[in-house]
Symmetry: C2
């Protein structure tokens, strides 16, 4: 057997994508429409690097609580001093600065880098006790771009590089900022083009969940995390499955046994009663009433309830009624860094998958309050609330439910009939471009007419311009309406078809013609 040699094969890394003009337009449609809404609420556009020190990003992946193995991380090629807690260089017993290649990581979201940036800005003033928890400055910024996660098991439709579009308010404990975040998500979805009634914002408060568990005597954070993790699976395993996992455990579909938390039966029943009482959607005032009637009086629970009441009144004042925003006490939203109100936009639209089955995309974006993130880096608590739109996920939803804007309009394509006429083509192109009309001369290697028209179609060109020496003598161009041409599939007669989709336009009227047609 002959030995084969190692090759260099052109290919993308698994889980990474090239984005073509059509996908890109959709991506930027989402980014620009949502950004406009963010700005309308006073958020500024900031940006942070793609790479950060790994220890600065911490271990707070919103979905899983950890980033174990889930991040692209590698040692900095630069050798740098190790720093002590006061920011000064660490030295060994011989007073020599200790050097190492610090670990770097590609950002896995926009929240951890925001916490780093904000912390870096206030760091010196925190050391001098000028800035403390109660006076930490206000920052409202939005940011978008790619984030990176090394997911070992890559489910269909999941990627290792994808775009997020975040907005955050750091330095405000005011629940008004939470209410606004909810309004912004709702407004952004509308601006992007989702039809009213095709989506709903669901809101809960983590303090209610913690307060309930506290009320039931479950005070340890580990208990809370475990219980919430199981409740978060209700969509997948059903209420019965949740109940079993809180208790003795259950057999999954494959027959494997999943051990439970072994909570006493009456505790499980009390937890389940609470959640089951909210599985049917109610009005916001209805939910508030039900919560009040539970008679739970731990400070966390009553505090969380008061916040929801304030959010309700702000939403009401600003015109966001039950058809736009619902309260859902069963919403958990991962287990990581949230400390107060949490919210999520759910798509209610159906689409048909490849096998014709009716499906829903479900959650398309969300966020919440996280008052502990800056504390990890500075030692002082700084209240913060924000949300993130999964741009690529939303793009997929728009495509699946046929709500995406039409693909971008290509340029007018000048067909190269005769290489000798290139200078004339270039003169015409310059005139059209000067008038703001996108124009391309076909410069491909193979210049058969079929190839050129295929190219124009691929680019979604609205018109092709044909000029041979005959036309040039007459001072005209033949303009072919490519979009119309695609629709006229029922005309069998070639002459008739040509008459319908082609016309002669005097060269000196081309600018007017296209200005009129393409505006």
């Amino acid at each position: 057997m002959e030995k084969k040699k190692r090759g260099i094969i052109p290919r993308k890394i698994k889980g990474f994508r090239d984005i073509d003009a059509v996908q890109n337009q959709l991506r930027w449609h989402i980014v620009s429409k949502a950004s406009e809404v963010y700005r309308k609420y006073g958020f500024e556009h900031w940006d942070t690097p793609v790479l950060e020190y790994a220890d600065n990003l911490g271990k707070y992946l919103p979905e899983s609580g950890t980033v174990a193995g889930g991040v692209y991380s590698f040692p900095n090629p630069e050798l740098e001093p190790v720093l002590a807690e006061d920011g000064k260089e660490l030295r060994d017993e011989h007073d020599k600065v200790i050097m190492e290649h610090h670990f770097l990581a590609m950002r896995y979201d926009h929240t951890a880098p925001l916490a780093r940036m904000y912390s870096e800005k206030i760091w010196n003033d925190v050391q001098k006790n000028i800035v403390h928890s109660g006076n930490a400055p206000l920052l409202r910024r939005y940011q978008f771009g790619p984030v990176f996660r090394f997911e070992q098991k890559l489910d269909p439709g999941r990627f290792r590089e994808f775009w997020q579009l975040d907005f955050d308010t750091v330095g405000s404990e005011d629940v008004s900022a939470d209410a606004e975040a909810i309004m912004i998500l709702s407004d952004a979805m509308k601006a992007i083009g989702l039809k009213p009634g095709s989506f709903i914002v669901k809101v809960n408060n983590r303090k209610l969940l913690s307060g309930l568990l506290q009320h039931l005597g479950l005070n340890s954070p580990a208990d809370e995390q475990n219980i919430l993790r199981i409740i978060d699976k209700a969509d997948k395993i059903g209420m019965q499955g949740v109940s079993e996992e809180l208790g003795k455990g259950r057999k999954d579909d494959s027959g494997a046994f999943i051990d439970g938390l072994h909570l006493p039966d009456d505790l499980v029943r009390k937890i389940m009663d609470f959640f089951i009482s909210f599985t049917e959607p109610q009005s916001r005032s209805g939910v508030l009433r039900s919560l009040t009637e539970k008679g739970i009086d731990t400070p966390l629970f009553t505090g969380g309830l008061t916040e929801l009441e304030r959010i309700d009144s702000i939403l009401q004042n600003s015109g966001f009624d039950d058809s736009k925003v619902r309260f859902d006490p069963t919403l958990v939203r991962g287990m990581a860094y949230y400390t107060g109100p949490i919210f999520e936009v759910e798509s209610l639209d159906f689409y048909r998958d490849r096998k014709g089955r009716k499906r829903q995309v479900g959650s398309i974006c969300g966020g919440g309050r996280y008052d502990g993130l800056v504390e990890n880096l500075t030692g002082i608590k700084v209240p913060a609330v924000g949300a993130s739109i999964g741009v690529d996920r939303l793009a997929e939803l728009l495509t699946l439910t046929r709500q995406a804007p039409p693909p971008p309009q290509g340029p007018v394509v000048i067909i190269v009939f005769d290489d000798e006429l290139m200078p004339e083509y270039q003169k015409i192109a310059a005139q059209l471009r000067a008038a703001g009309i996108a124009t391309e001369i076909y410069y491909g290697q193979k210049r058969g007419l079929k190839k050129q028209f295929q190219y124009a179609d691929r680019k979604n060109a609205p018109y092709a311009l044909m000029i041979g020496s005959n036309e040039l003598e007459k001072g005209v161009a033949t303009v072919k309406d490519l979009w119309l041409g695609k629709q006229q599939t029922d005309i069998k007669d070639k002459d008739e078809w040509r008459k319908k989709v082609q016309q002669e336009v005097p060269l000196d009227e081309l600018v007017d013609f296209f200005t009129r047609k393409m505006s």
Copy 2:
């Protein structure tokens, strides 16, 4: 001495930056204005991943010819099969698939990933001999975003993450595409706001340089690379220095000796004569005449000259005269992958540095023809030409020469006088936003008036809205014109100043008022 503990200090990696709202606006001003020009010439917006297989990116850093150590690279956490030259898995002697963690690299430009994407698209058809050098398909795309280079010595103003904005035509050997690239760069600079006459596009052809050396009997690519590398330093070391480095060598400013190429004296003189004859700027036709009169008849030289002549006539036809585009046979533009016409935009504007010295930024963008890049990945030659704008460098130029657009306008800021009135503030904010007026209520923790106005100023807010319970009773708001307020520094009398910059506006006229003022 007490042992210090290792800390987690919030900080950026050296060479990386946070981008605030003002810098971001400038960045996006450049990207959107130039992209508009690219689209007008028929280029589509595509994107590729930030991460690629390292072997796919190759070793073609345009500036240095290699990426030795200059790239952020690390092993893929995923274990994958090693592929043979035919794309199939390599197996060991026991017929087991050979696995490894392939090296990944962060993109260092947008050209290498473009070559990978294009090559991946045609790969299968190349294997089947359907696609070959003469019929490789046409692709015209633009792309922008961050690129990453680990520069060990980081000069001031240089960064390890920076933005580039590229456009390329792959699959065209037509020199018209090169002429267009030149026009596009010129149009883009104008669209970005550079004043006519404040920049010039310089054009040369690598075939002229190679043809000249061939004519002088210097045929080896290594000789050519070495000679071009030295000529490229003319700006720094002067013509005398170039001459010495081509010959026996020279002492640099520090007194160190730099060994020369040891070319014979008459060869050095002939090379120098050629370059010196073009140090004074001439008209394009003048340069073409001088080049013709050199009487150099190697095919490369005459071919390069013919291409420049065609480029000249296309530029002339399209209205790009000597004031916009110059021919400069001394232009070398790095040594890497260029094979034909090369071009560069030079800023002619002066600015004053911190010490008051007059300075120029120099080259701000450029490009050229590279017919060999796709060949490295597919084995077939595919002609290509493109250019790249250094977005951050251009942003710096606009700032230094005071040509940057004014900073982004902030929102109307509603000052929180009285927490009790928050619902009223929120109603007003909702009304203003519904009318398209960006509005922010101050949600910071410390609500002293001074803090709030400082915040509004920091965000470049045009107006502040003040509503206390008195105002509310009267149904009015006090509107303070913050931009006007900043200008009125000469008014000492507080009442007079207030009268000038503040006015009462009825609440139900606020939308009209701001719509009129801010449009």
